[in-house]
């Protein structure tokens, strides 16, 4: 199987280790990965902050770049949600019929990472080994826009050595919200504090998620508080193997 990796702008810049883990994981599962060198951003930040014409141009760019891809994998639920939920409205408003048709043909081939593993590859046990106590943060977009449901938990359940620490108030936002985190910095900080209480109460060594954006927020708060917990994208857990750990 061939899949094109859309790494997303912030993963490319801030979290390259997540991208490398996706590559390791998917190649181990026999996926032939491609990486379009022209890729930049899906337009989410612009769309969600109200910069609609700017978001148009990035959405158009994305669709034109990936229209011939067999499958597109994106290790970020909020970017997938942007593409699925907001692109149709943007193209409708733009009145670009051709782009709308191209998008309609492309969108069924776009997968968030956990969707790709479970729905497309049909695997839950990816042969991972991660001997740590881990709690899972359900990002809002994964939870309510993509309806990932129990997919992340099914994947984590099959990771060797992993002990899952359940998180209270799983469905509560961490307060990141993109530019919300600075436009409403004080409110966002208060939301983060509330969320961190629940996350730290799990006593886990790692907090994982399918969005590095939430993890950047949670991790930034943890680091500021000298909390004994780290954040890690789920791709990195799923990419870890026994060989790596033991030698």
């Amino acid at each position: 199987m061939r899949a094109s990796l859309f790494i997303t702008c912030y993963n490319d810049t801030l979290f390259p280790e997540t991208g490398r883990a996706v590559v390791r994981l998917l190649e181990r599962l026999g996926v032939e990965l491609e990486f379009h060198p022209g890729q930049t951003c899906c337009g989410q930040m612009h769309a969600n902050t109200g910069f609609r014409p700017e978001a148009f141009s990035q959405a158009r760019r994305f669709v034109q770049m990936y229209q011939d891809a067999e499958t597109v994998v994106i290790p970020s639920s909020s970017c997938v949600a942007m593409i699925r939920d907001q692109y149709p409205g943007l193209f409708e408003e733009l009145g670009d019929e051709k782009l709308r048709r191209q998008f309609a043909a492309l969108v069924p081939r776009i997968y968030e990472l956990s969707e790709f593993l479970i729905d497309k590859l049909g695997v839950e046990d990816v042969g991972a080994y991660f001997p740590h106590r881990v709690t899972y943060h359900a990002s809002c977009h994964g939870l309510r826009a993509l309806h990932l449901g129990d997919r992340p938990f099914r994947l984590l359940a099959k990771v060797g050595g992993l002990e899952l620490a359940p998180l209270e108030n799983l469905d509560r936002c961490c307060g990141f919200g993109g530019t919300f985190s600075v436009k409403n910095g004080d409110v966002s900080s208060a939301m983060l504090a509330t969320k961190l209480e629940d996350v730290l109460a799990t006593g886990a060594e790692y907090c994982t998620a399918l969005d590095n954006s939430c993890l950047m927020h949670l991790g930034g708060g943890m680091h500021r508080q000298y909390a004994p917990m780290k954040t890690i994208h789920m791709a990195q857990i799923l990419a870890s193997t026994q060989q790596e750990v033991h030698g």
């Binding site: 810049t13 997540t18 700017e54 409205g89 985190s181 409403n184 409110v187 983060l192 509330t194």
Partner: protein, 502 residues
């Protein structure tokens, strides 16, 4: 005067949301009280929603009913007017707040009223009716228990179903003791309720004019519906000689049978009850029973323009259950006053700016992390995040026209980012630049603890990991390069190739 008005809940005067939120953010006890109160309601709501196996079908039906009403609003309102008038009521049309206030004052003047009792009317707060009537010499008495607390204590509502959510029992005791002149009043709920009842009974028995809101208007029959928990509404609706109902035009439902859907959704969503304790329905005037003069004031006040936009039109489906604020992680931190309007929470964040035609309350569409919890619980399926984003686009388009765009780092940053994202080469150059610039802010531990400008809003409570030495695409292309080289090496030794030469 301020006892009757809602000065801080005037969207034309309210400070921007991030500023308005600060007093509550700095008050941990109040935040704890707000969070506890909404958690209790939400837990009850979740339990009762879970027992309905047809909840999603009910939501679907309700949003369909409201859409049908909104798409044919003029026809249904005229039908309501016709049926209500035939049953002995008087229907008035108010284009804006000033007209509604004038109509109500005229009716009260005809009745020679110098006092009026009020129930279940947020709309009257929207049009700031109380200060207007007080200035005209007419005393207003709220009769909903929470509204009494607020009125007597010079407070403001912070929730649409539980307006005094932010006031604790000790404060209620203090307010009642002071304003009702009861020394030795205990803070026992029964004693407080008894004090309120005593105060209210006098008003119910002596004030002959009342103003109410409406939960629903029924086009088919001309009936008005009010749901409540205390029975004080029932008193207001039955004892006075004259009753004036103020209702937003979006309150109309096509048919009586539609209530079957709406009442199931409303009680469960609002208070976590299978059925609310008091549901009052009345149609016009019944000779010898209840108010003998009945007026309905239909209020537009910038609702019609909302109808014109398909996405935003959903806003007018709202049945004021408050479920969106009970589940909202932002409201949970800020409470209701920060929204600067009688309509707080997620629904307020979309309704208020639209009622203000985006001339005021422009910060409200940004008062959300777009987490989508409100959409999930909304009984009439208002896609609040979608509308927030739409309103943000309209606010941004306004900003493009103003000088602010040259001074706002966020605006400039996003414009530049868009240019950068238009070409991979620019994007990569920007990454390289950012890495160099951020190096000056990165400490030995590899983290950034403090940033200037917009970044300071991040680093006030959060660190940021310094940029890694290599981006993902650099790693990928380096790997590709090595692979190609490696593949070359595996090929049978061809004299003259670089690999072979090694």
């Amino acid at each position: 005067m301020s006892s009757a008005g809602h000065p801080i809940l005037d969207p034309t005067l309210a400070p921007p949301f991030p500023v308005a939120a600060l007093p509550v953010l700095r008050n941990p006890q109040l935040r704890k009280n707000v969070a506890h109160a909404i958690d209790v309601i939400q837990a009850k709501r979740d339990r009762l929603v879970a027992e309905k196996t047809d909840w999603q079908a009910l939501r679907e039906a309700a949003s369909g009913i409201k859409d049908e009403a909104l798409e044919n609003l003029a026809a249904y309102l005229e039908q309501f007017e016709e049926r209500c008038t035939a049953a002995g009521g008087h229907v008035h049309w108010a284009g804006d707040a000033a007209e509604a206030r004038r109509i109500i004052l005229e009716i009260l003047r005809q009745e020679n009223a110098d006092e009026v009792i009020k129930i279940k009317t947020m709309t009257s707060a929207e049009i700031q009716l109380n200060p207007f009537l007080e200035a005209a010499g007419i005393r207003t008495y709220e009769t909903d228990l929470a509204e009494i607390i607020l009125q007597l204590g010079n407070g403001e509502p912070s929730h649409i179903v539980v307006p005094a959510l932010h006031v604790n029992r000790g404060q209620v005791r203090e307010i009642f003791a002071r304003s009702m002149g009861i020394e030795n009043l205990s803070d026992d709920p029964q004693a407080l309720t008894a004090a309120a009842r005593h105060y209210l009974r006098q008003k119910f028995l002596t004030v002959p004019t009342a103003i109410s809101g409406a939960n629903f208007l029924i086009a088919e029959t001309g009936a008005v519906v009010i749901v409540e928990s205390e029975g004080n509404g029932r008193m207001c609706l039955t004892l006075p000689r004259t009753l004036i109902t103020l209702a937003g035009i979006e309150k109309v439902l096509p048919r009586f049978a539609d209530l079957e859907v709406m009442l199931q959704l409303l009680a469960r969503s609002a208070t976590g009850e299978r059925m609310n304790p008091y549901t009052s329905l009345w149609t016009g005037v019944t000779p010898g029973d209840g108010p003998q003069n009945f007026h309905v004031v239909l209020l537009d006040n910038q609702r019609s323009p909302i109808l014109a936009r398909k996405t935003e039109r959903q806003t007018l489906r709202c049945i004021r259950c408050g479920a969106c604020m009970n589940t909202c992680p932002v409201y949970r931190q800020t409470g209701g006053h920060a929204y600067g309007s009688v309509y707080p929470g997620p629904i307020g964040a979309i309704l208020t700016p639209q009622l203000q035609q985006l001339q005021h309350a422009r910060s409200l569409p940004y008062a959300s992390s777009l987490c989508g919890a409100c959409y999930d619980v909304c009984p009439v399926k208002i896609n609040i995040p979608e509308i927030l984003i739409d309103l943000r686009a309209r606010v941004t388009d306004q900003e493009r026209e103003t000088a602010r765009k040259f001074s706002d780092p966020m605006y400039l940053g996003l414009r530049i980012a868009n240019w950068i994202f238009s070409r991979a080469r620019l994007f990569h150059l920007a990454q390289w630049t950012a890495r160099i610039v951020l190096r000056f802010f990165t400490r030995k531990d590899g983290w950034i603890h403090s940033l200037p400008s917009v970044g300071a809003k991040w680093t006030q409570t959060r660190d940021l990991r310094g940029l890694p030495r290599e981006t993902f695409h650099q790693w990928w292309s380096e790997r590709e390069r090595q692979r190609t080289r490696g593949q070359g090496g595996e090929r049978p030794k061809e004299p003259g190739t670089r690999e072979a030469a090694r």
